[in-house]
């Protein structure tokens, strides 16, 4: 099936274990927004319209009280570089989402974020292709992300150090565990070794989050070029 509500609900269910981490992440963003002097509505608005946690926080790092064109441009460049990895995710989802009509695919892509991308990749690795899964997961994540921004905004002055319980590493460790489900030895062993080397070199020599795009892109090109040796 192309889209079923059954898969939509399955996508929501698969997202549930991630919600504690989303809650913490959203609260940290809310607290940061409060400390930078954003109003409640602006904080909610940013979570609704941008809906990309890391870039929202990085954007706030360069937030200004009075804006000029150049400081606006600085924020846009920061957001662009942090989110550029989603170009690759969006491309990787092409075979899956192009089952839908074009305008439906683009609408579904509004909900694209790391978590529903990765859950969908695992779903596809299980041989399932229903697009309801991606959309269900994305819609739930979007709602929870927006709503959970506010507790952090109000509790900002009372919050302790989230690093103590290791929650800052929830998403990286989750991605790490997911990589085991996605790994196919014949296809991936060479590609992954190559990708890790390139990504680590990029992370070492280039500031920011470019290592994701550089590593991901060169790994996939390597996979394309070596397809006959897999």
């Amino acid at each position: 099936m192309i889209f079923t509500w059954q898969a939509f609900r399955a996508g929501m269910r698969a997202t549930l274990p991630l919600l504690p981490a989303v809650f913490v992440f959203a609260s940290v963003f809310g607290a940061l927004a409060f400390s930078k002097g954003l109003s409640e509505l602006q904080t909610l608005g940013m979570s609704f319209f941008v809906y990309a946690g890391l870039s929202q926080m990085m954007g706030l790092q360069v937030w200004q009280e009075v804006w000029t064109f150049s400081t606006l441009l600085a924020v846009v460049i920061v957001v662009f570089s942090v989110n550029l990895r989603m170009v690759l995710m969006s491309a990787a989802l092409y075979p899956y989402l192009s089952q839908l009509k074009p305008h439906q695919s683009y609408l579904a892509l509004f909900t694209l974020t790391d978590a529903n991308f990765i859950l969908t990749i695992k779903y596809e690795a299980e041989g399932k292709h229903d697009t309801g899964f991606f959309i269900g997961s994305g819609v739930l994540l979007w709602i929870v992300w927006i709503v959970m921004t506010m507790p952090g905004y109000y509790l900002a002055p009372y919050m302790g150090d989230i690093r103590k319980v290791g929650l800052d590493l929830f998403l990286p460790l989750f991605f790490g565990a997911m990589s085991i489900s996605v790994f196919k030895p014949r296809r991936d062993r060479l590609v992954w070794v190559f990708t890790v080397i390139v990504a680590l070199l990029a992370a070492h020599f280039i500031d920011g989050y470019w290592f994701i795009v550089i590593g991901g892109l060169s790994g996939a090109i390597f996979g394309g070029l070596t397809r006959d040796y897999q």
Partner: protein, 98 residues
């Protein structure tokens, strides 16, 4: 021209939406040759590990140990949430004692 906070929020939003659509748009214009198919098959895994590995390297030794625990637990138990809890438990223990 006066630029308000809302203008900045909308600029951030437009950039992010354009990024979300662009990969799909590009692939819809590219013929699916054997190279492109293999490229797309390798892409998700490549994004995954080029995010996780450098991130944990930058976060330091304890993060790397936590990652290893998660990955090994996942390999044997095949339940993602158990793997993450195992990794996070080790991380918080190590941080507590260091």
């Amino acid at each position: 021209v006066i630029i308000s906070d809302w203008h900045v929020i909308f600029a951030m939003s437009l950039v992010t939406i354009a990024i979300r659509m662009s990969g799909f748009f590009i692939m819809s214009r590219v013929p699916i040759t054997p190279f492109v198919r293999a490229f797309l098959e390798s892409l998700p895994g490549a994004i995954l590990i080029s995010t996780v590995v450098p991130f944990c390297f930058k976060a330091g030794g304890i993060a790397l140990i936590g990652l290893a625990v998660s990955v090994i637990t996942m390999y044997f138990v095949r339940r993602d949430i158990i793997a993450v809890i195992a990794g996070l438990s080790v991380v918080s223990l190590l941080r507590y004692f260091s």
